[in-house]
Symmetry: C2
Subunit: 436 residues, 2 copies
């Protein structure tokens, strides 16, 4: 490896020591006989001070530098109250490892707000901004913290297929694939496979995977290729067991990143609240009552909460100290949710988790009785022929089970307080974008 020290590992205590840094030239301030070169690496920035009269060759080489050149600089650490981070480097060696063309298609150093489309067109430049890297470093730590909780609880991670011929819920939202001359489809969700693994006795599983949604509308919340964190567990009493898992794992995840992603959160200007109280669990009816009573808002579709409703409920619960809460018992749900259980007083055992005013995940207890589910399928016009292999899995012993799917991109968006979900994705895909 090229020997070097990350910027944030250089401290004032090292005053007088020789270190090497390597990174992109972030900015250059030429003050005549004095030139400040800011070198940026993944972990921060270091100011390097080139002075005329010290070493002429070195000073000239510094004058030839351009923004975004990749350089390695060796020098002596100097503690300095004026320098950003309290240290600067007095250089003795400069190597240009790879020169950048100029002009750049986009500014990295200057605080010029580019529109999102320009940023995404030039993503390998855009991602150089400290705020952009912070998003993806945060994302990495969020996913790791989530997986850590499930690993600790004895869940096994699984990989279910993305290509399938059967098991699709709706034709319109599917991407067709030409598979050796046949038409198959990209997965919208691993749910049916997760349930088949419950039949197989896998008991507790999670999957960090990809799902595809051919939704043609462009909003700040939708993309066509999404990252999903899916969970399924068996031998549950009811949907509350599933909510318990989601609540504890999300609390752990937020706790962990509030501890180990402090730099990233600071760069993004986020003061992350970790919910310590139990997440409220309100019924669908209660949620609609709150909207009507408190906000005079009645979502048009009687079987759902709309985007505005979720946002208002989010504000309502956030004010009471609850950034996250569950809405339980949606009516008119998909055939695979357990419905109308005597004594439940709710329409279905389906729940949504709403976090910071937006739906973060959907889940619930599944119907595991094949007769009942076949009836639901019929009621909803789902063709059992399209679910042959799925139904087969319910014939030979399947324990009661439930689970949920959480949108990773959306979690990153909400935790990082990003305007658009596309900022939470390295190379987002939407109806108008499949490159870069």
């Amino acid at each position: 490896m090229i020997e070097r020290t990350y910027s944030d590992d250089i401290t004032a205590e090292q005053d007088g020591e020789t270190v090497s840094i390597a990174g992109h030239v972030h900015d250059i301030r030429d003050l005549g006989g004095l030139s400040f070169v800011i070198v940026r690496d993944r972990e921060g920035q270091t100011q390097v001070v080139f002075k005329e009269g010290n070493d002429e060759d070195l000073f000239e080489a510094a004058n030839d530098l351009g923004k975004e050149d990749v350089v390695r600089i060796t020098g002596s650490v100097k503690a300095s109250d004026q320098a950003p981070g309290g240290v600067e480097l007095m250089p003795s060696e400069l190597e240009v490892i790879n020169a950048a063309e100029s002009p750049l298609p986009m500014e990295v150093a200057k605080d010029i707000e580019s529109d999102l489309s320009t940023r995404l067109d030039n993503r390998s430049i855009d991602l150089r901004k400290p705020e952009a890297y912070a998003v993806f470093s945060l994302r990495s730590k969020l996913v790791n913290a989530m997986e850590e909780w499930f690993d600790g609880e004895g869940f096994r991670n699984v990989d279910t297929p993305l290509l399938s011929q059967e098991g699709a819920e709706g034709g319109a939202e599917l991407f067709p694939v030409v598979y050796y001359g046949e038409e198959v489809f990209l997965s919208q969700s691993p749910q049916l496979y997760k349930q088949m693994l419950m039949a197989a006795g896998f008991d507790k599983i999670y999957e960090t995977g990809t799902a595809f949604r051919a939704e043609a509308f462009a909003t700040s919340r939708h993309v066509s290729e999404i990252s999903m964190f899916d969970v399924e567990l068996a031998y549950i009493d009811d949907h509350h067991d599933v909510m318990d898992v989601q609540e504890e794992s999300l609390r752990h995840t937020l706790e962990r990143v509030s501890e180990n992603a402090t730099d990233e959160l600071e760069t993004l200007g986020v003061d992350l609240a970790v919910p310590t109280d139990p997440f409220p669990r309100v019924t669908f009816e209660e949620a609609r009552d709150i909207l009507a009573t408190e906000f005079d808002h009645v979502p048009e579709d009687e079987t759902d909460l709309d985007t505005k409703g979720e946002k208002l409920l989010g504000e309502y619960f956030e004010e009471q100290g609850h950034p996250a809460f569950f809405v339980v018992g949606y009516p008119d749900e998909k055939f695979y949710y357990k419905q109308d259980v005597p004594g439940d007083d709710i329409a279905s055992r389906k729940f949504d988790l709403i976090y910071k005013g937006q739906e973060l995940s959907s889940g619930g207890q599944r119907e595991h009785d094949i007769e009942t589910m076949s009836e639901y399928m019929e009621d909803q016009g789902a063709d059992p022929e399209n679910f042959h292999f799925y139904l087969e899995a319910f014939r030979f012993g399947i324990p009661p089970h439930g689970g949920y799917g959480l949108g990773i991109d959306r979690l990153v968006q909400k935790v990082g307080e990003l305007d658009n979900i596309k900022e939470a994705i390295l190379f987002p895909r939407d109806p108008d974008r499949v490159t870069p």
Copy 2:
């Protein structure tokens, strides 16, 4: 949650205590007035002894049980040298949670060898076999151990897109997708995106993801949808830095599973050797010399080692105590590998890792000079138009870098000593199979 104890948590020390178990009925042995019911859960099996004359209702209920019924049984633990695992359960309560139809499409308990195609057709039954679950529990632990090493070394996990319009290496092996009326392709490899992130200064990344290969041939080593573990790192001196990362991470991974997957390895009958010595790094020429001299084998394609060659080299090095070794400097390599570096004495900085006689990964140092790479592209007939966004990433400062992609399915196959790669995949896809 339904209260219960996993089978392998019940020990002879609990003699006389009351416990509940829950799982599938694995087997039933009816000896007239005595009936042994074996209940299987994820972690093992428990023998339950039903005796005529104790509790008539209970005995009758036990007689009505069928294989693969999902049950919960409460009873008193009895230490017994005759019982498998040293304990059996004297039941006081039996609940059938979900009954299985009979006959089963496939045997679970009996050691009848089904052919792989029948097994995959009935995967949610097939996966109930302890050996099948052991494979996927092992797989989960292998991936976790691998990620653990990279997390500890400051690598960030990333998600690159699976749908793209550009950047495809070869047309024939691609699956086309109909994307809002346009033709796009499923990813064969995240490599180009990984390299773009090196340009963006991400420095050290890994990705646990999916790749697609439209290879029409059916072998025990090929599938159409594969799980990949991809790595990329910047500021390397040369390809040896990349091999160091691969070597250390693989050693850590094998060490960890040899400690924490002892049950799984035992179930699979695997005695896992953890390579402690440095992995040999032989040049491509040396590898061909060994094949010619030791085995009188000359692979037909002068620019490659064939499957037989890899197997023979595997035996050669395994005999010397090296289950894993690198072959370095393949000639005629893809345009993105650094080639013919003065002083290297090798054709390219591309390497393969061969583990237990099979290629597990390919990688190397990438060419990061855009002029040189453009020449290579031209030489190899790759159309720069198809790589527009990729080439753009090389114009504005990119550090030297390299990486590799490791086949997760293949790693599981080799560690688990499975005949066919499809046994290492929950729901494998090949030219003849996209269901279940």
